[in-house]
Structure formats: C-alpha cells, structure tokens
C-alpha cells in the first residue's frame, strides 16, 4: 500500500486503514458534494513507525508507570506531554521518510494544508471523538508536514484521549491512527451545521463566521447562529453577535483581522445560503443514516464540506462532570490572553482590596449581632472568590501547558520539561514571603541577645526592628498557622511564626535556596526564539510572557485567596473567643451559640490521618522499599521523612527533613526552604509543591501513591527526583 493515498484510493484501502474522517470524506465526494483535495497517510505507516523505532515499547512503559485509576488529571497531562515529545524526538526511519516525502512532494508541493487526525472508529456511527485528537492548519512544505503527521499520531495519546481511554478502547497494542492531509481552503466564510439541536430535537442549528472556522471551534469568535426547522429548513430565528474580527491564513499560522465596516453590518450568510447548507446537511444525514455535525466553508460561493461526523452531545454520554470540566481547560492563546487581562487588571486587585477592606474592620468593636453578620458576609466573599478561582484562575494556569506544548513543538528538546526553566524564578508571591522569613531569620542569627530572648519566649519590645518586620510579615501574610487550616488552628498566632523562624535561623544563611538551577536560561530562550521564523517571533515572545504569568499566578492567586480566608477565620475566631469568655453577656452568648458558623464542630483537618507512627509488630514485617511516583524536580536527597498530616505538623518541621504529604497547600509552602526534598501523593507538574520545589531546586516527586501510608514518619528515605523513586532505608538484606 502506498504511504500516501489519494481520495479515490480510500475505498480500496478500507476504513481500517484510512480512518473514519477520510472514509466519510470519500463518501461525501462520491455523492457529488465538494470536499477539499484530500490525501491520507494510512494506519500502516503509523504502525511501521512505532514498531521499527520501538516507540511502541516506550509508550507502553510510559502509560503503565502507574495505574490510571491512581492518577489525577495533571498526571495524565504529564504523560501525554512526554509521549508527544517522544514522537517529536523519534525520527522517521529512512525508508518511511523517503517514501512519504516523495509522495507528499509530488501531491502537495508547497501548498498550504490542513493535517488532521483520522482514527479508525473516529467519526463512525458509534462514537464521535470530537476534540480528543489533534488537527493542524496552514502547514506547508515536506518537513513541516512530516512533523505534523507525527504530532497527529501522538494525539492518539493526548490527555483528552487518555481520559476517555475506556470509551475509545485505547490500547497501545492495537490502537492506530491515520492522517488526513487536505488542501487548505482560504475561506470567505465558514462554520458548523448541527443536524439536530441537542437541546431541541425539532431544530437544526447553523453557526457561521467570516474567514476560517478555527476561531469558531476554539470559541474565540462568537458566530452568527440560525435556528432552523429540522424538517423544513425554515429559519425559526437568527442570533446576531457583535461581529468585529475574522481568522485568516497568514504565513506560518492563523491570525485575526478586523472586519470591514460593511461586513460588521452583514451576516456571513444570506437566506439562500442558509438553505443550501441545511439541504447539504440533510443529504449527509441520509448518506450516513443519522444527524451530522458538519464543518463547512464557502470559497467564492462554492460550498465545500471539510468534515462530517455523527452528533453526540459532548462526544460521549458523560456522567463524569469533572472530566467534562477538565476538557474545557484546553484554552486557545486568544482565550488565555483575555483571561490574563481579566485576572491581572480586575480580579487580583479586587481580591487584594477585599482582603484589605475586611482586615481594616475592627472586629472587637462589633456587637454580637454585627459580628454574626460580618462572619456571614466574609463567608459569602470567600465563597465568591473560591468560585472565581475555579472558573478563571485554574483555567489560566493551563497557560503553562500551552507554552510547554508550543516550546516542545518548536524546539523538540530531549527533556520534555525543559520549558519549565524559562518559567521559573518569576517572582512568586510565596518566594517573596519566604524571603521575608529569611530576613527575619537573619536578624536572629546576627543578634545573640534577640536569639536568647526568643528562645525564652520573650517578645522583643514593639520598637525593636525585629518586631517591626514581624508585624509587616504578619500583616501581609497572616501568622501562617491561620492560613494552614480551619479557624480552630489560629491559636498559635505570632509564636508559631517565631518558632518557625528559630528553625530558619538554625541554618547557615547561605544554604537557604538549596541547589540553584544550573540551566542557562538566556541560552534556552535564545534557542526557543531562534526556532521560530522571524515573522512568528513576536508571537513566541508574547506566549513566553503568557506562560510566565500563568506560572507566577498559579501560586500567587492562592496566596491572595488565603488572605481572604484568613479574614474569615479571624471573624470566626473572634466569635469563638466571645463564646468562651465568661464576661460575654448571656443574650450575646446565646445569639453567637445559635449562629451556624460558630455552633458547628470544628472542621476536620485537610489531610487525612495516616496510620500511627508507632511500629506495631505487624508493621515491622512489612516495608515499602521503593515507591514510584512522577519525577517533578530533578536532584537526589536523603533525609528523615516528616509526614505532614495536619497543618500543625508544619510548624515543628525541622531543617533538612523531607516533606511528605498528600499535597502541599499553597499556603503551606513556607516550610519548603527548610526541606531537603518534597514528596506528594497528589500528582502533576502544575501542582504547587512541584512549582515551589523547582524554584528552590529541591528534588521533588509527585503522584507517589499511598506515600503517606507506606512511608513512616521519621524513617530515613532517599528521594530520587530524576527517576521519581522514593527508597526507604532498611537495615540488612
């Protein structure tokens, strides 16, 4: 079989070889409906490639590292990232390369093309895999096409595909991918036709934009929308958006351009064209036996069908809301830019202002009734910001992913996490906090009198520079213990910070930042920029900025949220204080006792309890020697494991210990400068512990299953952050 098939050859090759998309296009073309000039790289080429290069075995290793059931979304993304990079860095064997190149050269020349996935089973009648595999547009030249063929193959193991692996029947031994190569149509207008409206079975829906439909698919441009009678095609209603931009082909990619004043006023389709698309949609429904989701485009009044697949509401009947939400985290560059502006210009200043406003209210002066009202108000404010956190901050953090993907595509580094070096040391708020802690520790180190005073629990006078700086610290970041758990944890106050500072001061001043990163980031950046053609460098620079902002805010937003949480705790704490104060009037105490936030039992600690540290006879007989997680910070360290089950545990953390926990809460990261390594049960490169550990150059392992059960508090362990292996030291063989 030829490694590149022309559309006339698809039927003979069979659907198993050309995949669902190519197969459907061939059938559409046979019906006399226009499709772009289309070729296909059949599944056999994919199979040859992964077999000859032994890539199949490497993917197998990667996806079996841990059971999927034990993985979080972030870990699945990490796997997809690593697999994608393996495809990028594994060259095509010479024979495959030559055969593909010759035919691509002959068929496509230098024409701009779309390179799309066409998995067998995809776009078939049983399931629609919309959005799980990748497609690329405006690709030209043999080298670029070959690279994007590999990227489409890699998307067989995209994070979305891994998430839906059961529905897809994804299996490294049998799953295959064909690639469709299509001539790129420089569309005037394009859009999507839904044969049936998922929320109204009597309607069809037609969406249209000027230019390419890429922006419509990514949600960057709002389309004109027509609701049509499914049976007659009659227009029921037309919704007009604010039309201002359209996506157009530019050298090396797609860009947005302003619409002319005339087009801003004119819907992209007239009634006759709406009718024509509805009729074609009906034809396709008859051809494939069920309502279709059709991507169409107009070029000089010629209607061309780009693809057609059966409609399913979200691709699958999905009862797992979290999974659906996770898929929405794939954001386009445009979308992330808008989000960035919203977060930095509006949300963060609003959060800071909210925390300051609440902090300036003197709680002690409030009547019992006003205090209850205040707690309610603070709870409302806090809840509001938690919802903002999920709706805007978390999606924005995925800008790191977008940058990582673009970096890897452009640079094809051996280390798929090389891009992180360009994002690090960007002035995280928590680093600022830890620096203040260091400054306070320095004061203790250099002032023996102060040290003795503090050791004896004697606070220095209010005019002492140490007291000033400590007040500044507490005003800005709270007294740490308040932000590490529920309100009942707030009892430590200033003493908790001092205890921690004594521990900081025990270390020599210079050892604060662990092993600094050795990467030459200037050279990395140069390499990154150089991998883009001149006209794309501005985009590359902007994307790097976006990635850095995303990385920085990933931590900072939690710090700001922590400040608001602290204000809530303070109010609750004041209520609890008055409840326990015999001087409080009975009617006030009754009122406070009836108030739900104060009468409820104290919240359970965030971390679940691991088994007790005492060794029972049975425990002596069973030890976990090695645990495998995901390598999240390179380096190796040996030390005493300190299991942090409750926020209080952090306050007695000793220098050089290894922090072992379910997950580092962003507000807990203040102990990281004391730690020699970090182990987290939760997984993923984007989680806070991993980010901060990388900032300090500490070995870090995330996604270590059951680490809190398998590692015993006080045990000597070694953390290998290169391989992601934790080894417990046991005596003898």
């Amino acid at each position: 079989m030829n490694p590149v098939l022309q559309s006339g050859e698809f039927p003979a090759a069979g659907k198993d070889q050309v995949g669902g998309k190519a197969w459907c296009l061939a059938q559409i073309s046979e019906l006399g409906i226009s499709i772009p000039k289309t070729w296909c790289v059949p599944c056999a080429v994919y199979e040859n490639y992964i077999t000859q290069t032994r890539l199949r075995d490497r993917i197998f290793l990667e996806i079996n590292r841990k059971p999927f059931e034990q993985m979080r979304w972030e870990e699945i993304w990490d796997i997809a990232l690593r697999i994608r990079n393996q495809f990028l860095t594994t060259p095509l064997p010479l024979d495959i390369r030559k055969n593909l190149s010759d035919l691509i050269e002959a068929y496509c020349g230098e024409k701009p093309l779309a390179v799309r996935s066409s998995a067998p089973g995809e776009d078939g009648s049983a399931a629609s895999f919309a959005g799980l595999h990748e497609s690329f547009i405006n690709i030209s030249g043999v080298e670029d096409i070959l690279k994007h063929i590999k990227l489409v193959w890699a998307s067989l193991y995209s994070d979305a595909a891994l998430l839906y692996r059961k529905e897809l029947g994804l299996d490294i031994q049998t799953s295959r991918m064909a690639v469709v190569i299509q001539e790129l149509i420089p569309s005037d207008r394009s859009g999507i036709f839904f044969g049936v409206n998922p929320s109204d079975a009597g309607e069809s829906v037609l969406e249209a934009v000027y230019g390419l439909n890429q922006a419509l698919v990514d949600g960057d441009i709002a389309p004109d929308r027509w609701h049509l009678s499914r049976s007659s095609g009659r227009i029921i209603r037309h919704e007009s958006p604010v039309r201002d931009r359209c996506a157009v082909v530019v050298p090396g990619g797609v860009s947005f351009t302003e619409l002319t004043a005339d087009l801003v006023q004119t819907p992209p389709l007239n009634d006759r064209e709406v009718r024509r698309i509805w009729e074609t949609g009906k034809q396709l429904e008859t051809l494939f036996g069920r309502p279709q989701d059709v991507e169409w485009t107009f070029l000089h009044d010629r209607l061309i069908i780009l693809q057609s697949r059966p409609i399913t509401s979200t691709g699958f009947t999905d009862t797992d809301e979290k999974r659906t939400w996770y898929l929405t985290l794939h954001r386009s560059y445009e979308n992330l830019q808008v989000l960035h502006e919203k977060i930095t210009r509006d949300l963060i200043p609003e959060m800071i202002a909210a925390a300051d406003r609440l902090g300036s209210k003197p709680l002690a002066d409030l009547s019992a009734e006003d205090l209850c009202r205040e707690i309610e108000e603070r709870q409302k404010i806090y809840d509001h910001w938690v919802s903002v956190y999920w709706a805007d901050f978390i999606p924005f953090a995925h800008g790191i992913r977008l940058f990582g993907q673009v970096y890897n595509d452009a640079v094809t580094p051996e280390d798929p996490y090389e891009f992180m070096a360009l994002l690090e040391k960007t002035g995280l708020k928590s680093m600022e906090r830890n620096q203040l802690l260091e400054n306070l520790a320095d004061m203790i180190r250099s002032d023996a009198g102060l040290k003795t005073q503090l050791e004896n629990d004697l606070a220095p006078g209010p005019d002492h520079p140490f007291s000033h700086l400590l007040d500044t610290f507490i005003a800005q970041f709270g007294d740490l213990s308040c932000t590490t758990g529920s309100g009942s944890e707030c009892q430590y106050g200033e003493l908790a910070v001092i205890r921690l500072l004594m521990e900081f001061a025990r270390r020599p001043a210079a050892a604060g930042s662990g092993i600094p990163h050795q990467r030459d980031t200037a050279a990395l950046k140069e390499r990154y920029m150089a991998s883009f053609p001149a006209h794309r460098r501005e985009f590359a620079e902007d994307l790097l900025h976006l990635g850095r902002e995303s990385y920085r805010l990933r931590d900072d937003d939690n710090i700001y949220l922590g400040r608001i949480e602290t204000r809530l705790f303070e109010a609750v704490q004041e209520g609890q204080r008055r409840l326990g104060d015999p001087a409080t009037a009975k009617k006030d105490r009754d009122m406070l006792a009836r108030f739900p936030a104060l009468s409820a039992a104290p919240a359970a600690p965030k971390q679940t309890d691991a088994p007790a540290a005492d060794e029972t006879a049975a425990q002596r007989w069973f030890r976990s020697r090695q645990i495998v997680g995901q390598p999240a910070g390179p380096g190796i360290a040996t030390g005493t494991a300190r299991l942090v089950k409750n926020p209080q545990d952090l306050l007695s953390f000793k220098q050089g210990e290894i922090l072992v926990c379910q997950g580092v809460d962003p507000n807990m990261t203040f102990v990281i400068p004391l730690a020699s390594a970090v182990v987290e049960e939760r997984g993923g490169m984007l989680i806070h512990g991993a980010i901060i550990a990388r900032e300090y150059g500490l070995p870090c392992i995330t996604g270590a299953p059951h680490a809190m059960q398998l590692i015993q508090d006080g045990n000597r362990i070694t953390v290998d952050g290169y391989l992601g292996i934790i080894t417990s030291h046991t005596k003898g063989l």
């Binding site: 197998f60 069973f622 645990i627 063989l733």
Partner: protein, 151 residues
Amino acid sequence: MENNRKQTLEQISALFASQDLAVLSTQKNNQPYSSLVAFAASSDLAHLYFLTPTTTRKYDHLTANPPVSILVNDSRNQADDIYRAVSVTGTGVAAVVDKAKDKGALELFLKKHPHLKEFASAPTTAFIRIAIHRYYMVSRFQNVVELEITP
C-alpha cells in the same frame, strides 16, 4: 499496613503457584553463581524446596555457604514484561533435608513436580530447604516492598 502485608503474601503465593522454576544464587570463596531450579513453597511461604544432584556447583556452594537468594518471576520475554511482570526475591539459609525423615515436604514438592519423582529418589539427589528470612517483591518496574518472614 497489615492488609498490605496480607495482600502481598497472597500475591507471592499466586506467583509461586504459577511458576515452576526459580533462579537460585549461591556463593563460595567470593565466587557467585546462579542456577535454575524447579521449586515448591510451603503454604506459609516460610520454606522453599528444590532438588539438586550432589555433584553440582550449587550444592557445593550452598553446603559450604548456606545463605542464598532465590528469584521467581513471571516475565514472558515480551516488551510489556517490564511493567507487567512481578518478581520476588527471597533471601534465607539453605539446608539439606533428610528425604527419609521429612516425607511431608518431599510430598509437597512432588505434588507440584510429579515428573521429578525418579530424580528425587536417586541417592545422589539432595533435597534442599531454604528457610526464608525476607521476601522482596518488585512490581511495575520499580515498586518494591519487603516482608520479613523470620527475623
């Protein structure tokens, strides 16, 4: 933790039941040596048994230097072995068993390997018992747990 231990012992039992052969490692005069043996395990996993002619290097080694290790695994010589296969190493002390006296153990062994009955009865075949000190189970390439059987 107790559950983990129980679960691991069950996994080891299942592995031992599924495999006929094990790799025995011995040492004498600073010279290590490995050999393949047909083995059987006692139900409590405290002892492993195998047969060997008395003329072999392994016999020479283990009688001179009884601490040994033994490895059982279920790899199939396929690429996926690296994650799928489970491997168990036992460490312990080997001793020659008097075949005439410890008939129960020999019966247990021959129940698993009935075709070795003749081999077992030869006067030059020794019946060896390893008293296991610890097991080390490796799964998914790098997950390792340790169990102490006898201190």
